[in-house]
Symmetry: C3
Subunit: 384 residues, 3 copies
Amino acid sequence: MPSKYLNFRNSVPWLIFFLEAVFIIVFYFLSSGDAFQDVSHMVIFGLGFFLAFQKRYGFSSTGFNLLIVVLGVQWSVLLEVHLEIGIIQSCCMTAVVISSAAVLGKANPIQLIVMTIVEIAAFHLSRWTNERYLEVHISMMHVYLFGAYFGLAVSFSFSEPSPNLEKNASTPKSDLLSMLGTLFLWVFWPSFNSVLAVKKDKNTIIYNTYFALAVSAVTAFALSVMTTKDGKLRMTHIHSATLAGGVTIGYAAHSIQHPWIAMILGLLAGVITILGSHCLQRCSNPVLRIHDASGVHFTFGLPGVLGALAHVILFIIRNWTDLPSLGYPIMINVGTFCLTISVALISGFITGLILNFKLLKTTPVSKYCEDQFYWKFPHLAVGF
Amino acid sequence: MPSKYLNFRNSVPWLIFFLEAVFIIVFYFLSSGDAFQDVSHMVIFGLGFFLAFQKRYGFSSTGFNLLIVVLGVQWSVLLEVHLEIGIIQSCCMTAVVISSAAVLGKANPIQLIVMTIVEIAAFHLSRWTNERYLEVHISMMHVYLFGAYFGLAVSFSFSEPSPNLEKNASTPKSDLLSMLGTLFLWVFWPSFNSVLAVKKDKNTIIYNTYFALAVSAVTAFALSVMTTKDGKLRMTHIHSATLAGGVTIGYAAHSIQHPWIAMILGLLAGVITILGSHCLQRCSNPVLRIHDASGVHFTFGLPGVLGALAHVILFIIRNWTDLPSLGYPIMINVGTFCLTISVALISGFITGLILNFKLLKTTPVSKYCEDQFYWKFPHLAVGF
Amino acid sequence: MPSKYLNFRNSVPWLIFFLEAVFIIVFYFLSSGDAFQDVSHMVIFGLGFFLAFQKRYGFSSTGFNLLIVVLGVQWSVLLEVHLEIGIIQSCCMTAVVISSAAVLGKANPIQLIVMTIVEIAAFHLSRWTNERYLEVHISMMHVYLFGAYFGLAVSFSFSEPSPNLEKNASTPKSDLLSMLGTLFLWVFWPSFNSVLAVKKDKNTIIYNTYFALAVSAVTAFALSVMTTKDGKLRMTHIHSATLAGGVTIGYAAHSIQHPWIAMILGLLAGVITILGSHCLQRCSNPVLRIHDASGVHFTFGLPGVLGALAHVILFIIRNWTDLPSLGYPIMINVGTFCLTISVALISGFITGLILNFKLLKTTPVSKYCEDQFYWKFPHLAVGF
């Protein structure tokens, strides 16, 4: 392994410096001066700790999360200035962080950096196509869907860690830290969902998101007790299902006029997440050879699909009296959904293949989920 | 115990789903669309970690805190829409979280849910009576007083854990997590105290709360050194007394015109909390059969009483020249105070009795303060 | 040691009460009513956890941080009311917290309190001199420079802990907690840098600070891999260098018109911090007898000097065409820089001497970095 490892050592800094040089040179020819949305950064900050649940991967979860966010934001600003569109870097970074969660513990920093660069480009392509050909503006739903399915497609190319590997388990301490991140996300999710909205919709979105989050958190507790054998709660259920409501409501939040609709969506989101976590991890994931390290599929993927579906159904119900004219807008909606998912899956699959070229693949399977492969501990024997 | 435990397993989900069904159906006939105050949620988030100090109860402290907040907010919105009053759900939830702290480690989720439902109803009753008959508007002081004394009255009906039980002790790690929650609360307390105030008073309240918090934190350090045998600091003293200043100032903050008055109130709050923590836990609590799990009495109760007293005294001093006409407003103030405390104590005592019906009482005393009774650990042998 | 310890026990409370009495009496004759900046408190809160990386010093890091902040703010308000200037207490407290980081684990509470009192007075003196004689208004740069060099000068008088002492090492858990503080600071740093600025500059400052922070964080990852022997990352590098960009940009942020300049400054800040951490700790610190407990010199000191230098160079480049008239403003800039550093070094050195009078020096070197010397643990045998 030493030869491989030198490879890793020699490549990370140069990759980073090369990218920084490119960024600085390109920025030299560009110029922009807008302020960022603080609230979005809080979400990215929260996601770092949300992912810190693995026993021996806390440093990498929070550290690499910071690395890809700071690299990705610069790259995203460049792309957007070029495409002459407004500010959505933070939303874009959320998609990247969600994707990185799907390969948590398996991708090394080089792979994560390459993935960030490719994913942001693909995300902007998907967004640009949507706006150009379907005249649909990006919403938070695309962010969640794109992030989740890109990540899942990437994880397809990574070999699964050996099943008796205990390293990707959590400890009570790491679960508690992850709970900290979850509660942080929970508090800021309503504001986050409203970031891309026009001003007059913001209040409605915050209100609806809040209700959906509340009901999905409640549902998480109820279903977690029902689905475990001895009637106990599971922390991972609470983590995933608490946020599922906010993901589901992301697409339709501005158009929901009654809180009870938001509440039902939250309830469905909670149900789909908990059941998904049971079925997917037992049945479909082993068949599809997907090893979804942090439950991205049922935390962001399925609730996102549910949200897109709900958006169409709610639209049909609202315009019940004028059925014939519904065809075109529904087609557009379905088209946007299919386009986003397709671009995510295809580009994710290709990215996964690229990431597993010999050149980039330096982490042996036995070193998955292991902080010590990347980080120097001055306190090795202290009782990790 | 297995039979009892099945009881718990079968009841929690159905209770939750029944409540959610009721909420959704009632919301169907209602309609409201206001935004929430983000700052209040930060406080609720902070309280979850403030309570995470027990060695083996971190999951339950943060998890159940989330559960009662999300259920309670929905219930509170319903009640308020019915009573046609403004938004104070978050304040109301703060009272519930304070009460739940008094039975921390002893109440199971079913009991907590029932307590939340009853307490919110009682809180709104107390508020409605105050506004209807005494024409006094709710302030943060009522929130703290109501929450503390309701919780203490409830804890009266719970049997005390065996004295040699070491489980409700804290570890350095859990104390540090609790410090995180405390500092969070400390930072947001000034904004929180000003949530219910009219706009022109907000700045004064923030300023005065800040000074009171600063002085009570300083006092906590001084008195903590003086009251321990070997002159060392105690983390629990710092936790409680740091916040006491913010509680005491809650009632009178808008009417204090000089920072030095706020500072003296903060000083008294620090003193009453540290001395209270010594005297209450040694003398009065064993006599009154109250086992106050997280020091709710001296963190929120006594500073609240001090604040109510200070409010009356400051009012008298301000209107010194016109003594004869003072009788009525003072009577109103004292009446509000007594009414709030009485409703809290009576409804809390009744709630405590209800919670200890056989039907709801499923946690044996030996399982108090034990996360593993409620949560599934995939990492049992990892070294908790 | 018991005799010495009684000394500590008897002195801390009386010192605190004496100060509080003075504050309350002086406030009685004064009157002020402005609101504080919430964002600044977030930074102070974050700094407490940023410093919680020492294995056995978590209680003291967060607790004493709170103590000096709450005492210092009151003292600072007094001084400023006297000097009739606006609100910069929080900035002033940031300088104090940075200084206290330099003697982390070595100074006892009495020393910290005395240091706080003296440093705030010296800081206001430096600020007043700058404004009176050089007509330069205080900026964030002075805060970072003053805090760092005052702290280093103070640490000169403290004896170094024995080199084989393992206590000031970090554990993975404490490093992760420190990462929490770092990310918190990272998120709020852009707003913090803009606190002292006039409104029209705020957006530019936030934008530039953000870019500098992003690039310095990226650089930290690259250089950390390059400078360790086996090509691994070091958490301490990430902690320091992530923030270095925000420190460097603090002085010039309002005058930078292109993001690429901010990015280059961030890059240089990252480089200087990582190289500084290598060279200083190996070569110059042992020679100068400075034991810089938490890397204040290369986290805040050197990036601050770099920022001041950059400010002058950028100023020269901007006014290239009008070279002859540049002399006076450059002289003023250099003068401010030298004045701030000189006052910091001289007053810090004197403070260090005062702090090591027998009367104040109660912590034996063997008890450095030891929570148990100051805090009572009810859980001694639990496995710290």
